[in-house]
Amino acid sequence: MPKKIISVGKKIWATMTGWLKKFWSNFRDVPLISWLVAFSVTVALEIFIGQALARMVGLSKPPALFGVALVLDNPAKFLSAIIYMILVYGLPVGVIAYLTKGVGNQIAEWLLQFPLLLTSVVHLLLIYGVMHYWTSISDYRLLVARLAMISIIVTLSLNVVNGYMGEFSCSHPGFMALGAYVSSIFTVLLFVTDNRFGDALLPAFLGPFMFPVSLVLGGFVSAAGALLVAIPSFRTRGDYLAIISLAFMFIVKSLFENLEVVGGARGISNQPDYANLWTIFVWTVLAIWIINNFVRSTMGKALNAVRDGELAASAMTVNTQKTKMVAFLFAAFWAGIGGGLFAHVIRYINPGTFGIRKLAEVLAMVYFGGLNSVTGSIVGAVGFSLISEALRPLDIFKWIFIPIMLILIMIYRPTGLIAFREFDVAQLFQPKGKKDEEGVDHAAA
């Protein structure tokens, strides 16, 4: 009897996925640019008629994050939310992407003659535009988008260590804390008048220009902290990094707890509001670009070689020690940048922010998205942030649901959803024609 049910279930599943595949095959040759155009239209639609439409289907206002939170709060609104989502997102996106794919492919083809940089800028501007207007509807969306982008930076940098290098580092919250504190001290000391650091030392208009300096400073300080971890950890192979980095994380946390000059356990607040959407966007793009460059360089490949066979790597002239060191400091640098941005989004930090919970969160994003994969980290960071926000109404049960999801992913795809894949920007922007070249799938064997 149960066997029958299972086989029937399998059949249904197969037909459903069959349909989905068939449906999706209509969109296989839609280039990125058409998708972006379709999303722009959708966003415009939501801005202009979203409110009215929401009223019509029985919602008080357009759902902030795809209606999941809304439905979880009030299951009766299920139908309304679905209708809204289809009318505002599903239908227009699908139709416009489908209709413009011919033109889109022509444009993409035409763009090929220009340097990749120009094509990238065009696409990035479109992406930013979509995001800018999409987040203009609610402050909550804006906050989620900003935090999600910061998660991309942090996740990607941890992936360099845990994925590309194949070690297990636990110190990322510590590096984030260093970056967050250093940049906060910098900006609050110089540009804010408060009762901890006294009067602002420099005129406020300079602030936004000095903000990158403060971030980079934070990045360098966390790279210096990483040196403390790296020196004892990388002398011999084994699990030392896991333990030493863990100890480091606790040390950083309790160091700040004990430093009364920076607020002790109460932390620092009143960070100026420099980390707006476009600033974070630029930093995220920079991080993705540079980290992707790094992991695809010979040095990045050497990192893979050290992971998959250190002896052979050194016999092939790779300085394994130095490679690991550079990669680790590099990762710490970006974690510091992420921490600095984070501090200026939340505008309040304390040592408790950078503890075990943060560690679990970052690790979850890395392993959710996929090891050794830039795409994976982007998907992991954004996906995890969105899921985690959308499930907020579940209250504490969210923390049962998310871990179960992650355990299932680990069981069925132990290296994460999109692991071991190269991220090639040129391929991303290419026209999608008949031959349909997909990225070489280096899926885990």
Partner: protein, 311 residues
């Protein structure tokens, strides 16, 4: 001098908890090469099981039913609580192994570490959801009496806690050194492949490793409950991570090493608070550990080994 002795006793007691938890960590790490990041929460679950078992036993009112004096009754309850909770918690531990780790035996070790982390979060949240955020106070199983030794006053609880922990640690050590099962564990720690050749399935050894570790964690939980009678769902987190570090400090798979490192951690923490403000405790403890690991990367009793993450 008496202050010192008194603190020494405090340190021994505080170290007992770390030692018992660290042994569980160390066994799993030694035998299966896994970081069982759920272990701290298994300790928490053990403490709660102990709480319910002892409350239940007290409610049975054995004393008046069978006609025992209060002292004997409490002693009986304590022993029964320890035994029953250790058994129950070993079932929890085996469940964790079965659900979270066995499906990942061939996967990268890091993935298993992530499932462990997630199971830990589930245990905490489930506790929070089922029992609510309020703290529980552990029933008083031993009426406190104070004994004076060499000018230092020491409570009977402390002596009991230290003795029980030492006995348990030695028992497990003997088990691993002397019995056939222990030998299989050591063989598995040395080489994963040979154990099936000995006619013992490696799955069974894995289960047993988790069972023993979790039983010790339950004992630690109950002893903790006796000493500091407040339990809360997050009590396992910091304890767990610190015990993890102690386990590594002891050396891979070394039971006595883990126990020793656990006690050392207890000493450091207690004596740090004598001199520095107590907020500096973690800072200094982890700082010292970092220094020790820098000079003895394989821990006290560990041997150099090379572990690939098997990506």
């Amino acid at each position: 001098m008496d202050v010192f002795l008194q603190q020494l006793m405090n340190a021994l007691q505080w170290g007992s908890f770390y030692a018992l938890i660290a042994i569980g960590y160390s066994m799993v790490y030694g035998v299966l090469m896994l970081f069982n990041f759920a272990h701290g929460d298994i300790f928490m679950v053990g403490a709660y099981i102990g709480f319910f078992v002892s409350s239940g036993l007290l409610a049975l009112n054995l004393g008046s039913v069978i006609g025992l004096s209060t002292g004997v009754e409490l002693g009986l309850v304590l022993v029964l609580t320890l035994i029953i909770s250790m058994l129950l918690n070993s079932i929890v531990g085996m469940g964790v192994e079965r659900i979270g780790y066995r499906p990942l035996r061939e996967a990268p070790r890091a993935s298993a570490a992530i499932t462990g982390l997630m199971i830990g979060i589930i245990l905490e949240t489930a506790n929070l959801a089922l029992l609510g955020p309020q703290r529980r106070s552990f029933p008083e199983l031993i009426p406190t009496t104070t004994i004076t030794i060499a000018g230092a006053s020491v409570t009977n609880k402390k002596i009991l806690i230290v003795i029980v922990s030492l006995v348990l640690a030695l028992l497990v050590h003997q088990f691993v050194q002397r019995t056939k099962w222990g030998m299989a564990m050591r063989a598995m720690a040395y080489d994963y492949v040979v154990v099936p050749l000995m006619g013992i399935s490696s799955d069974r050894i894995a289960l047993m490793t988790f069972a023993i570790g979790s039983a010790l964690a339950a004992a630690a939980g109950i002893l903790f409950g006796i000493a500091y009678p407040v339990l809360d769902p997050n009590m396992g987190i910091l304890f767990g991570w610190k015990a993890f570090v102690a386990a590594i400090l002891g050396g891979r798979g070394s039971i006595l090493g883990a126990a020793l490192a656990g006690f050392l951690l207890g000493f450091i923490e207690i004596f740090v608070t004598m001199i520095f403000p107590s907020t500096m405790r973690n800072l200094i403890a982890f700082g010292i550990i970092l220094i020790i690991l820098t000079f003895r990367p394989h821990g006290f009793f560990g041997e150099p080994f090379s572990a690939q993450l098997r990506l």
